[in-house]
Symmetry: C3
């Protein structure tokens, strides 16, 4: 997620148009941290509980070590003046990046639009492919 948003901000700074498509587990980064008042079935609710809610709840892909490694990484980044994941996300959205949540993943995981942060639209694989076809650089992160 860090790599994706560093690249997105870099591309925006260089004047490129940026579209980011979030699918499966990637959706979790876009969830609001607070509980939303939505009606859900028990299985959708279970998925919601089991998955990290928002960027602050994400773990490092390695060296998480029960939370210690992730907190250490956040501390070190702050100390060295590197933008946090939250700042990177905010500046990408403010800079005009189009953030698209995969509609099929939302359906499967039972995540509603009102549970996602502001500035996020939703779309399907056709929307992704249309954006990919027009772009110069396209990554699956």
């Amino acid at each position: 997620m860090l790599a994706a948003f560093v690249i997105a901000n870099g591309a925006l700074a260089m004047g490129s148009k940026v579209t980011m498509f979030f699918t499966f587990w990637g959706l979790n980064a876009l969830r609001r941290p607070e509980d939303a008042a939505v009606n859900k079935g028990i299985i959708d609710r279970m998925f919601g509980w089991m998955m990290p809610r928002g960027s602050r709840a994400l773990s490092l892909s390695k060296l998480h070590m029960g939370g210690f490694g992730t907190r250490l990484m956040r501390h070190v980044m702050q100390q060295k003046g590197v933008a946090s994941l939250e700042s990177l996300m905010q500046s990408a959205i403010a800079g005009g990046a189009e953030i698209v949540a995969c509609q099929m993943s939302m359906d499967v995981m039972g995540i509603r639009a009102e549970e996602l942060i502001d500035g996020v639209s939703s779309g399907g694989v056709a929307a992704y492919l249309a954006a990919a076809e027009k772009s110069d650089t396209n990554l699956f992160v």
Copy 2:
């Protein structure tokens, strides 16, 4: 694997030509579930045992939880009318996707052509790069 085949089917539906190159662990999705009568050395046989055989044996990349999460995800997808990995693979092959197994990975892991599902050819990195060069969109999933 789900993401790869959702994108592949989407691209086919939009009239694009699709080539999918399977390397290393990705090969496991292409294995036939049943035992094939092939002669193998002990190490090749061990690799065969240790790795998932076919798409039904694959685990979710997160929330597998000893099989519970993976079964739950399959159940939810079925209930919500989302195609299973197996249907996605079948419709991609039926739709004309070229499915290429990495020859070097097959050699290293001791997997023979007759152990792979129908509709799969094999090729090397040169075949991959030739297809990548001609394509508009190219992802490493």
Copy 3:
């Protein structure tokens, strides 16, 4: 890492220009195995200890099994005449691949240029994006 360097060597063999950008955990593959005499703070030193130092210290992404699987894979690759990760890296560098270490990742993880193997330069996201824009094929591995 194997996939990345197999593709890099294939592309060089086909006469393409290759640039590889190493970020976050990917940096570990570029570390010298031996201790470098650098002055570091305690947190930078800790990161250095916790992360694999050089390609020989990397684990298989699956089937590592306490080191057994990784050693077995190296053994099988050697026996079957497949180049090791170290040979692939050497031949990519010798063949003219530009190997770029992400400067921000180096800063965050406290890794100095003199701790990386020969033939590595460093650069930021702008350098990556400039190379990506000019290239025909661009992967996030």
